[in-house]
Amino acid sequence: MPYIPNTDEDRRAMLQAIGAASIDELFEMIPADLHLGRALDLPPALGELELAVHVGELAARNRPASQSTCFLGAGSYDHFIPSVVDFVASRSEFYTSYTPYQAEASQGNLKALFEYQTLIAQLTGMDVSNASLYDGAGAAAEAVLMACSVTRRHAKVVAASTVHPEYRQVLGTYLQNLETELVTVAAPNGTVAPEELDAAIDDQTACVLVQHPNFFGCLEDVEQLSALAHAKGAAMIVAVDPVSLGLLRRPGDCGADIVVAEGQSLGNPMSYGGPYLGILACRDKFLRRMPGRLVGETVDRRDRRCWVLTLQTREQHIRREKATSNICTNQGLMALRATVYLSAMGPQGLRSTAELCLKKARYALGQWTGEGLLQPVFSAPTFKEFVVRVPHGQADALLSAAGEQGIMAGVPLGCWYPELEDCLLMAVTEKRMKAEIDRMTDVIRTVLN
C-alpha cells in the first residue's frame, strides 16, 4: 500500500516485541461474532495513474462555472483569487497541521489566525472575531443562539425574509428542538419594511437577523433597523458580503451587535459549496458567550510576545454540555486563505473589487432590462446582485439557451419564494467582462424575440 511504510519484516519484528502471534490476534479484543468475516463490498483499489484517469473523467463530465461565464451567486461567488492565496495555503506546515493546542509547535497558525481576527474585526467594525465557523449559514445560526444567551431571551427571534433562504432553513433546524420561535418578516418590495419589522419585535425577542446587501442584492437600511431592534432590547445580527465592505459602511458603524458572513468570497474557490468560511464577529460585551476558537496574544516565560488559544472555558472540551457551542474542528485553512486574500488585496484592492462588482452589475442590469427585455423586480439600490423577471414560462428556455453559449445565467427563485416564480437572481463579479455581459444580452434578446 502506498501510505504504509512498514515491511513484512518490520511487522514480524513488531509482533514479536508485542508478544502477539499475528495481527489478527491484536483484534481479539473485538468479539469473534462481531467480525465482519468478509471483505467490504467496495470498488477495487486504483493506482495513482488509474485514479487520476478515473477522477479526471468524472471532472470532465462537469461544466465548471469557473470556466464558463458565471452569473450565478446567491451566496457563492466567482471572485478572483490571487495566486499567493493558493501558494500560502499549500504550504504543508499549514495544511497538514491541526488545531494549535500546543502553542509552541503552532505559532505560525496562531499568529495567522490572530491576523485573521484582526482583519475581520477591522473589516466589520466589530470588537472581536472568532477564528472561524463552518459557513455563513452556521455562523448566522450560532449568532442567534449566542444572542439568546446574552439577552436571556429564548422565546423568539426575528429574521427578515431577505436573509438567504438556506441560512433561514439552517437556523430553523438549529431552533427546532429548542423553545424558540422563528418569526420571518416579509419584504414584498425587496427590502425589510421598518414598520413590519417593528411590529414583529417584542420585549421577548432575542435578536433580529438581517442581511446587507440582502439575498436579492438590495441594500437594507441597517442603521434604522438596528435602532428598531435596540429600542426593544433585542440584539442586532447583520449578515454581510465581505467584498461589499470594500465600499459600504461597516455594519459595526450602523448598529450591528454581531456580524456574520460567508467568507467564501475572500479567496476560497466555489468548490460545489464547500469548504467555506463562517465569519462571526461581535462587540466585546458578548465575548464570553462567543462560539468557536479564539486566539489571544500573551507573553512566554521569557517575556517574548506570542499567541495561544484562549478563553477556552467557553468550549466543549472544558464545559461539555454547558459550552457556548459544540464546535471543535472549524475552517482554519479557509480562514488562512481569507487572511492572505485580504492582505494581498489591501485597502485599494478590496475597494476596486467592490467598485468593479457594483459598476458591472449595474451595467448588466441596464443592458438586460433595457429595450423592454427582462423586467427589474425591485427598485432598491443593489450591489453585485439583482433580481429580474423573465416573461412567464420562459425562464427555463433562457437558462438553457445561455447554457448552450457557455453562460451560467442565474439562480431561479421560485423554489424559495413562490411569488418570484419566473424570477432569476443574477450576480456580476469583478471577473465578468463587458463582452460577456453583452453576450448575455444577445442571448436574452434572441430568446425573448
Binding site: 500500500m1 504504509i4 513488531m14 509482533l15 516485541a17 508478544g19 491484536l26 473485538i30 462481531l34 471483505a39 467496495l42 470498488p43 483499489a45 486504483l46 485514479l51 487520476a52 479526471g56 468524472l58 471532472a59 470532465a60 462537469n62 465548471p64 458565471c70 457563492s76 495544511y95 497538514t96 493546542y101 500546543q102 509552541e104 509547535a105 505559532q107 499568529k111 484582526t118 477591522q122 472575531s129 463552518y134 443562539l145 427546532q176 429548542l178 461597516r250 474557490p269 466555489m270 460545489y272 469548504p275 496574544e297 500573551t298 506570542c306 495561544v308 484562549t310 466543549q316 461539555r320 459550552a323 471543535c328 485553512l333 479557509m334 485580504l342 492582505s343 475597494r351 468593479l356 439600490p381
Partner: protein, 464 residues
Amino acid sequence: MPACDVPSEPVERLLPPEALAQTAPSLPEVTEPELVRHFVNLSTQNMSVDSHFYPLGSCTMKYNPKRNETLSSLAGLLGLHPYQRVETIQGMLSILHSLQEMLAEISGLEAVSLQPAAGAHGEMTALFVAAAYVRDTDPARNVVLIPDGAHGTNPASAAMAGFKTVEVKSTPGGLVDLDDLASKLDERTAVFMITNPNTLGIFERNIAKICQMVHDAGGLVYLDGANMNAILGVTRPGDFGADMMHFNPHKTFSGPHGGGGPGAGPIAVTGKLAPYLPVPVVKKSGEEYGLDFDRPKTIGRVRSFFGNTGVLVRTYCYLRTHGPEGLRRVSENAVLNANYLLSRVKHFLPVPQGDRCMHEFVATAQTLKRERGVSALDIGKRLLDYGFHAPTVYFPLIVHEALMIEPTESECRSTLDAFAEALFRVTEEDPDLLHHAPHTTSVSRPDEVRAARQPILKWAGPER
C-alpha cells in the same frame, strides 16, 4: 484590479451616500514579496504531519496523500458553483453518490448524509435526526446518556439538540459500567452515545449487549466514529448495533487537518431514521444523478449548499486508492503501530488499561508527577525539543495526567522507536529542565492565564 471596462457613473451616483464608507477598509498594505516571506516564515513555526511525527491522540494525524490534493483541485471539481443545474455536474454527483454508498457499506448502516461540515456537526445532525424521530414516536424521551470518557463534543451536541445529558460511569478497566448504564436507562432515554473503540483505545467488548440494553429500553445508539481508523473492514457499527454514527474524513480518510479544519462529518443511519436526514441527498435514477429534496420528514438543512465537498472528494480518492483490502490494511497497521508503541512505552510510563490497545492508548504520568513533580504537560512540551509533536494531554478526563498517543499506520517502525526512546529519555530528565521545556522552539510556555484575564484578541495598531 483592471480598469473598469463598462460605461459607468461614479460610485457616489450609484449608491446612496449614507450607505458608503468614508474611507477604504483598514487592511494591510504590503507587496507580494513581503506577504510571501511573512507567511512562509509563519509556516516554519508550525509542526505538521509532513514535517514531524504528530501522535496527537484522537486526531488521527495520518499522512495526507498528495494525489488527493491534485485531483480535488481539478477545475472540473473546484470550479463548480453550488447552484449549477444538475446536468452540468453529473461527474461531481457521481462521486458524491458513490461516496454515500461506500460510507454506508463501511458503517453497516443504510443511509448517509454528506452535509455536516465536521465531526461535531455530524453528531449534532444525528441528534437532530434522533430528536425528530422521538418526536414522532415517543416525545417523552429527552435524555441522552454519555460515558464519562466521551469527547466534550458529545454532551455539547446533545445540549444543542435540546436533550438533557446524563453521564454513565466507566469501570476501572475503562469500559462502560453496565450496572450504571442499566440504572440510568429508562422510558426517558432517547439516545446512548458511545465512542467505540473508546477514547482509551479499547474496544467495548460488551458493545452488542450495550446496544441490546439500549434498544430494549427503547433508545437509539449513537456511535461517535472518531476512532474508525481502528476497525475499517474488521467490524461495522451497524452490525454491532449502532443506529447512527458520524465519520471524520479528515481523520480516518486522510483529509488534511488544515491547522484546524476544514473537516467533514458525514453521518450514516439505519433505515428507520433515513427519512429524517437533512436535504438534499444525492439520488441516482438510471444513469442520471440528481438531488433529492422531496423528503417530507427531513430535519431540514444543517448547512448551506451541499457541504464540505472538497473534503469529500479527497475522501473518495482515498477510498478508491485503497479498495476493501487496502482499507483493512490501514486499520491493521494502525493497530499494529499502536500496540508496538504501547509495548515499548509501558515499561517506563504506566498504561492503566492494559497490554493491548486498538489504534491508540493512554499512558499516565501520575506516578512521575507524584514522585518527581513531572506532569503530562511537561512531557509533552519536552517532546517538542526532540522533534516530535506532543500527544494529546489531559484527555480523556478519566485518566489522571493522561498522555493519549495515536501513531497511525503511516509511521514506520524506526520513527516509533525514535519516539519511544525520546519519551523514555524525557522521563529520566531533570524535572527543572522539563518544567521549562521546550527549549528549542521560538517561544516557550506562553502565559495562558494572562491571555485569558487580559484578552488581546486583535492587533491594537502600531502605536501600542
